[in-house]
């Protein structure tokens, strides 16, 4: 049961039967609003997901992630706005749109008293896979999700990890062009997370995937693009690297050096005008101190910095601070209500 095992299994491409409009983007959400008894859960969300893209959906609890996903799948009606899946409007052609989506809900509800293969057969029939194709296809997804050993077990008796994989197997069963998974890795151990991650990565380019997660490194590794929503609005979107630059807006360097620190700010200003010392530590036994430097510039300053510092100080280490998506997430969701995605487009 290792992660690499999954990746070399072939995943067939999305069924062409469902692709009547190959030019339309996989998912188009425009001005989506959903209010529950006067409280808005989703407030004017607009985004597009291209074919074959893996989109990560981030946001604190109650931000509207699940609601947005449920509206895309056609389970919940929107208050206003429109959703198109492969060019098919969900509101007016729900059956057509649902044929194009494989969905795994947040809590991954499964019937307790069915066997794994029975469940997949039943779901396959509901998803209009012909009897002839269904048997081989079930074997394929069982292999893909490493479920072969439990195919005759009753779902209610499976562990959380297996149940989660049954949910994923069910979502990819009908080979839909769009797969939506609400927190697919919740409750899995690191090993199983790796398997799920490889599974999702193996769908890249063939199927469009939207996943939501709380585990940020997870999203960072798997997703081509990230959408951060908070209080029903899109607060940031872009690739993880873009977001890091855009939301945090500065880079950090850590240096350890020994020598007289009084001349350091002046020296730094010659390297880059905005470079400044933001924190400094106490000298250790060898006289080395740790400084944290911050700059608004996004260029790589490491080499110039080394050249500038080396003649004046005894330098022990220099490294660039790696801001994680976690920092981005915290910074983006901390922003005020009024910050909208439009204001956050990269300034180029």
């Amino acid at each position: 049961m290792n992660g690499a095992q999954v990746s070399y299994l072939s995943v067939p491409t999305a069924d062409p039967r469902f692709d009547t409009m190959p030019d339309a983007p996989a998912i188009e959400v425009s001005h989506l609003v959903k209010t529950y008894a006067g409280v808005s859960a989703v407030n004017d969300i607009t985004f597009t997901v291209a074919r074959g893209e893996i989109l990560g959906f981030l946001g604190p609890n109650g931000a509207g992630k699940s609601t947005t996903m449920r509206i895309i799948t056609g389970y919940l009606p929107a208050t206003s706005g429109s959703v198109r899946v492969c060019g098919v409007p969900v509101a007016s052609q729900p059956a057509e749109a649902k044929r194009r989506i494989g969905y795994m809900p947040e809590s991954n509800p499964l019937p307790e008293d069915m066997r794994v293969s029975e469940y997949l057969y039943f779901r396959g029939r509901l998803k209009e896979i012909s009897r002839r194709k269904l048997g081989p296809r079930i074997d394929e997804v069982l292999e893909l999700c490493d479920l072969k050993r439990v195919r005759h077990k009753i779902i209610g008796k499976l562990s959380k990890g297996y149940r989660q994989r049954v949910g994923i197997a069910e979502a990819v069963l009908a080979e839909p062009p769009v797969i939506i998974m609400d927190e697919p890795t919740i409750g899995l151990d690191p090993h199983q997370i790796l398997i799920v991650r490889d599974l999702i990565a193996s769908l890249r380019g063939r199927m469009t995937v939207i996943i939501s997660s709380h585990i940020l490194p997870e999203i960072e590794v798997t997703c081509d693009r990230v959408l951060i929503i908070n209080q029903g609005r899109v607060v940031a979107q872009g690739t993880p690297a873009d977001l890091r630059r855009e939301i945090l807006g500065h880079s950090t360097y850590h240096v350890e050096l020994a020598g007289d620190a009084a001349g350091l700010p002046a020296l730094l200003a010659t390297v880059e005008p905005t470079l400044a010392v933001t924190a400094q530590g106490e000298p250790d036994a060898g006289g080395f101190r740790r400084f944290t430097l911050t700059t608004d510039s996004n260029d790589e300053l490491g080499e110039t910095l080394l050249r500038a510092l080396a003649p004046a100080y005894r330098l022990r280490s220099l490294n660039r601070g790696q801001s994680t998506l976690e920092d981005v997430f915290l910074a983006a969701t901390r922003r005020s209500w009024d910050v909208r995605s439009e204001d956050l487009r990269p300034r180029k």
């Binding site: 529950y36 008894a37 449920r70 799948t73 056609g74 389970y75 919940l76 009606p77 059956a95 057509e96 649902k98 044929r99 989506i101 969905y103 809900p105 809590s107 509800p109 499964l110 019937p111 307790e112 008293d113 069915m114 039943f122 779901r123 029939r125 509901l126 998803k127 209009e128 069910e170």
Partner: protein, 253 residues
């Protein structure tokens, strides 16, 4: 209706593989057998005016009031409680297909349970060896009544199940609705305030909806299309409201 058969066969399959179905069926047979032997015992003591079949179907409401809620309370309430309704409705399946699938499976079970009671009459026939005592007319009429009225009763149970995510609440709701439908019109018809001339159309309407007198008619061999229409329209209405019940819960989820 493409998925209706898939859903129905799934539901029936789940019923048939579930041990609790057989335990419930056994207890039902035990209970009905108890009623049946009591009837036979009373016949052995004193001569009666009506046939045993007639007497047996006079007590139809006891199993109906208890069995229908038990059969139907799980159907939609359980799906919502587990959240599987979400995975179900995100496939190209309509709410109507889901509700109809549940309804038909529950009705199948209801009829299957009642069909087993025909064994009592078969045993009686084997024992006495004469159809004269069994009286096939009331027997057939009685089972026809059970089949026709069951359409409506099971639909009411499914409707109750669509209103709550708690099985117990759905069950009690179904029980109360069934008691009102079965005994309500009969007790209304005997109340004196309906005797006023101005209310006579209302009194007629109440007379038509008396389930207990429908049973008498059926066992006497009188099959009135108005009564058939009452059960059929009631069934359709209850099922439409069940579909609306499921969808309304989504709208206001």
């Amino acid at each position: 209706m493409k998925h209706f058969l898939t859903l129905l066969s799934h539901e029936i399959r789940m019923l048939l593989v579930n041990p609790s179905t057989y335990i419930a069926a056994m207890l039902f047979l035990f209970f009905m057998g108890f009623i049946f032997t009591n009837i036979l015992e009373s016949y052995s003591k004193v001569p009666q005016e009506i046939s045993p079949a007639n007497a047996f179907f006079q007590l139809f409401f006891i199993p109906v009031i208890f069995m229908v809620p038990l059969l139907t309370m799980k159907s939609l309430a359980e799906e919502r409680r587990l959240g599987t309704i979400e995975t179900l409705l995100t496939t190209p399946v309509t709410t109507a297909e889901v509700v109809l699938g549940k309804y038909c499976a529950a009705y199948f079970m209801y009829i299957a349970l009642w069909a087993t009671t025909s064994g009592f009459f078969y045993i009686l026939y084997k024992f006495i060896g004469d159809t004269h005592f069994i009286d096939l007319g009331p027997l057939g009429g009685g089972y026809l009544f059970i089949a026709v009225s069951g359409l409506f009763f099971v639909a009411l149970g499914v409707f109750a199940s669509s209103l709550s995510r708690n099985q117990a609440v759905a069950g009690i709701l179904a029980l109360v609705v069934l008691v009102v439908v079965i005994f309500g019109p009969s007790s209304l018809a005997t109340s004196s305030w309906l005797d006023r001339d101005i209310l006579s159309p209302l009194k007629d309407a109440v007379e038509y909806t008396r389930v207990l007198s429908h049973r008498d008619d059926f066992t006497r061999g009188v099959i009135d299309t108005r009564q058939l229409l009452y059960y059929l329209s009631g069934t359709v209405l209850a099922l439409i409201f069940s579909i609306l019940g499921v969808e309304a819960k989504l709208l206001h989820a």
